[in-house]
Symmetry: C2
Subunit: 422 residues, 2 copies
C-alpha cells in the first residue's frame, strides 16, 4: 500500500482489503479492545466495512467480539473487538553482553511470561546464548497457561549489533566476541533451532536493540503518535533507533543510527571501531566511570554517580558536568541532523538524564540554530528497561500484522512439524 520504489505501483481491490484488515488488526493490537463504533470513526470507514473486516479476522482466530461490560446509551451496544492475546503470541528475545531474556508476548503487546538471566559481562559465545534461549523457550512453551489452539505468530530477537536487513546477518557486534558472533546469520540459526527443537515454524526477525526500542516506544510507550523521534541507548556502546516521518529509518542495509560512531572529537581517544574521537569514546559507560573515578565496570555505579552528584559531592558534580557536556554536544548533532520532535534517553542515559537534562537543553537552545531545535522533547523511555524486549515482539508480529489472512493461510499450509514440545 506504500507508494514507494519510484511510485510505480497501483493498488488492486485485493490489496485494499489486505490494507484495511492490516490496519484494523494493528489498531486493536496497539490500542487494545476497541468498539466497532470507535473503529469506524478512527479508521474512517463505514460500519458495514468494519463489520466485514472484523468477521474475517474473527474467522481467522485473530480477534473475538464481546459485548461491552457497560452500556449506557440508547440503541444496540457496539460490539468490542478484542485481540486474542492468549491464543496468538510472539516469542521475544533480548541478547546483551550481560543478559539473556526471553518472553512470550500476546497479540496486544502484553508480556504473558518471561525468563531472564543477568550475569557478569563476558565474551559469551553464540552457543552459550543459544543454549539459554533454548532452555527459556522450552519453559515458556510448557506453560499450562497456553490454551489449546494457541500459536506462535513470530519470533523477534534484539541484539546490540548492526543487523543486515536483507538476511538478519550480524555485521558489527562491537561488544561481543567478533570471532564468534561476527557475520553470524542469527535469524537462520534461530529459525533452524526453533523448528528442530520445538516445531515452531514462525518467521524470525532479528533487529538492532536501539531500533527495536524506538519501535516499542512509538507503538506503546512514551512516543505514541510521534512521527519523528530518536531513541538513544547507551550501555558499553552507544546507538540510536530513528523513526522519521512515521517510519523506522533503517537505511539501505539496516545499519542507520550508529550515532555512537559519529566522530565528534578528532583529537580524542581511539575507539574500538578503529576511528579516533567517536561520540561513544566520550560518553560510553567506560568514559562515564573513568570521569567519576570509578573503574570497576559495574552498571550500578553510574546511578551511584548521579546520586552522589545530586547529594552535592563536588567530584561527582564535576564528572557529571563533563560527561553532560559531551552528551549535550552529540544530542545537538542528532537534533540538528534529524529534527526529531522527541529524543528518548534509554539505557544508562536514562540514569544520568535527571542530572544533565538542563545542560542538554541549554546547549540545544544556544546559538542561532536554537530556533530550529527549541521544540524537541527530551524524555526517558515509557516502557523502562523493557523497550527493547517489547520492540522485539513488535517486530515478530509484523508479518502477521502486515497481511493477517495471508499469514494465517500460509501458516495453515505448512507441513506438520516433526517434533513438538514434550
Amino acid at each position: 500500500m506504500r507508494a514507494r520504489k519510484g511510485f510505480t505501483y497501483g493498488v488492486t481491490q485485493e490489496e485494499l482489503r489486505r490494507h484495511n484488515l492490516s490496519t484494523l488488526l494493528r489498531y486493536v493490537h496497539q490500542h487494545g479492545p476497541t468498539s466497532r463504533a470507535v473503529l469506524t470513526a478512527s479508521m474512517n470507514l463505514n460500519r458495514s466495512t468494519i463489520g466485514a473486516l472484523t468477521a474475517d479476522l474473527s474467522s481467522a482466530g485473530l480477534v473475538e467480539e464481546e459485548l461491552p461490560g457497560q452500556h449506557l446509551g440508547a440503541g444496540r451496544p457496539s460490539l468490542v473487538v478484542v485481540p486474542r492475546a492468549a491464543h496468538v503470541y510472539a516469542l521475544a528475545y533480548m541478547i546483551g553482553v550481560d543478559f539473556v531474556v526471553a518472553a512470550r508476548v500476546g497479540l496486544g503487546g502484553q508480556v504473558l511470561d518471561r525468563r531472564e538471566l543477568y550475569r557478569p559481562r563476558g565474551d559469551y559465545d553464540l552457543e552459550d546464548v543459544m543454549g539459554h534461549l533454548e532452555r527459556f523457550t522450552g519453559e515458556l512453551l510448557s506453560s499450562e497457561d497456553i490454551p489449546p489452539g494457541a500459536f506462535c505468530a513470530g519470533v523477534g530477537a534484539a541484539v546490540p549489533a548492526a543487523v543486515r536487513n536483507s538476511d538478519g546477518m550480524l555485521r558489527f557486534v562491537p561488544n561481543m566476541n567478533w570471532d564468534d558472533w561476527g557475520d553470524a546469520p542469527l535469524g537462520d540459526i534461530l529459525h533452524r533451532r526453533l523448528v528442530e527443537t520445538f516445531g515452531i515454524q514462525a518467521p524470525v526477525a532479528v533487529g538492532n536493540d536501539a531500533d527495536l526500542g524506538a519501535l516499542a516506544e512509538r507503538t506503546r510507550g512514551v512516543a505514541v503518535g510521534c512521527d519523528d523521534l530518536v531513541y538513544i541507548v547507551g550501555e558499553v556502546g552507544v546507538g540510536a533507533g530513528v523513526i522519521a516521518g512515521g517510519e523506522a529509518m533503517s537505511g539501505h542495509d539496516g545499519y542507520a543510527g550508529e550515532v555512537g560512531h559519529m566522530v565528534v572529537n578528532p583529537s580524542g581517544r581511539l575507539c574500538r571501531c578503529g576511528a579516533r574521537g567517536c561520540w561513544e569514546t566520550e560518553i560510553g559507560e567506560p568514559a562515564i566511570l573513568a570521569a567519576a573515578g570509578h573503574a570497576d565496570g559495574r552498571r550500578a555505579t553510574v546511578a551511584e554517580l548521579v546520586a552522589e552528584a545530586a547529594a552535592g559531592d563536588e567530584k561527582s558534580v564535576r564528572a557529571l558536568e563533563h560527561i553532560g557536556g559531551w552528551i549535550a554536544l552529540g544530542v545537538a548533532n542528532i537534533v540538528t541532523v534529524f529534527n526529531p520532535s522527541m529524543v528518548i534517553f534509554g539505557g544508562l542515559f536514562g540514569d544520568v538524564f535527571p542530572g544533565i537534562q538542563g545542560q542538554i537543553r541549554t546547549n540545544l537552545l544556544s546559538g542561532s540554530l536554537g530556533v530550529v531545535r527549541e521544540g524537541v522533547r527530551l524524555v526517558t523511555p515509557g516502557l523502562g528497561a523493557d523497550s527493547t524486549l517489547i520492540g522485539a515482539a513488535e517486530k515478530a508480529f509484523e508479518p502477521l500484522l502486515a497481511d493477517p489472512l495471508g499469514f494465517v493461510s500460509a501458516m495453515a499450509a505448512m507441513p506438520a512439524p516433526s517434533s513438538r514440545v514434550p
Copy 2:
C-alpha cells in the same frame, strides 16, 4: 494511501482511485510518454483499469494519448500516454546569495523557459529578490510558446534556509541578511504577489535548497530508483537533503539535514551559528579558500584550486588534502548515521570531488565500521547545477500529482482572478 500517524486509517474505494490516478500521472511525469501496455505491467493493474484511469486524466487535460510512431508487433498498437507538458506547467524559483533564477517547467520535468541573474554576493534584501522574480515571471508568462488553455499547476521556491514545513516560514537563513529574511513567511509573500500581479492562484511551496536537490536527483537525476540517499551541497554554507526509505526526510518541522552544523571539532573555529567546530567551519567555501591561500571569495577559485592540485602544485595538493580530510570525516559521520546507498556531492563539493574521492572512500572503509559502509556509492549530481531548480518544480507539482482530479476541480472552482498578465 500511507499507513501513517499511528496506523489508524483505512482506505476507501475513492481513495484507491485517487491513489491509482496519482500513481499513473506520477509515472508519466517521471518517465515521459509511456504505452498503456508498459503502464499495465509497471503499475501491476489490469488493462481496463489503466484505460479508465487514462481516460479520466485525459478528460482533465493532464495527459493525451497518441498512437506510437512505430508499431512492429502483431495486434493493435498500445496507445502512448503523454503528459501535456506545454499545457500544464510549474513556476520554479531558485534563490541564492549570488543568483536569482526563475523557470517555467512542464509536466514531465522539462525546463521550457528560464531567466536568471548571477551577480556578486551581497546582503540583497527580500524586496530586491522579489522584484527580480516578479520581472522574470512576467517575462516567462508572456511567452508566445504558451498555448491557449495552459495553466500554472504550482509554484516552488528553493532557498538556502531552514524552512518550517507547516507554513513555509524561513527560520534559519545563515547567509542572507537575517533582519530582512529571518522569519519571513516566504510562501505567503510569493502567493500574494503572484495572485495580485499575474492572477496566478496555484499553490506555492517553499523548500530548502538541499532537500529539493535530493528530490530532483531521485526523480530524474543520478538517484532514480535509490531509496536511501544523502545529497550534500556546499556553497558558503553546507547542508544536506536526505531521502530515507524512499521518502524525503523532513524531520518534525522541516529542518532535518543541517549537517553543516554537526559539531566535529569542538576545539576548532567559531561558526556563524554561534557554536564552535561545526563541520561547515572546516569545509565551507571560506575554509577551502583559506586553506588554499585564496581569499577573494570568488567561486571559481575552488575549481582553480582543484586544477592546480591536479597539475601538481604542492601547496594546492596539501590544501586539498587538508580539506579532503575534513570532508571525509563528515561524510563518514553521515554514512554512519543514515546508512545511505548513495551520497551525492553537489555545489562546490562537486568541484572538489574528483580530487578527494579516494580520500573519502579510504576513510569510509577504515576501521571495523568499514563493513557497514562499503556499499555506498559516491557520485556528483546527474542534473548538474540545475538539481535545485528542478527540485523546486517537483515540489510545485506535488499537489497536482497527489490528487490529480481533485486538484483540477479545485482550480476550476476558484473565482476568476482580478488581473492577468498584460
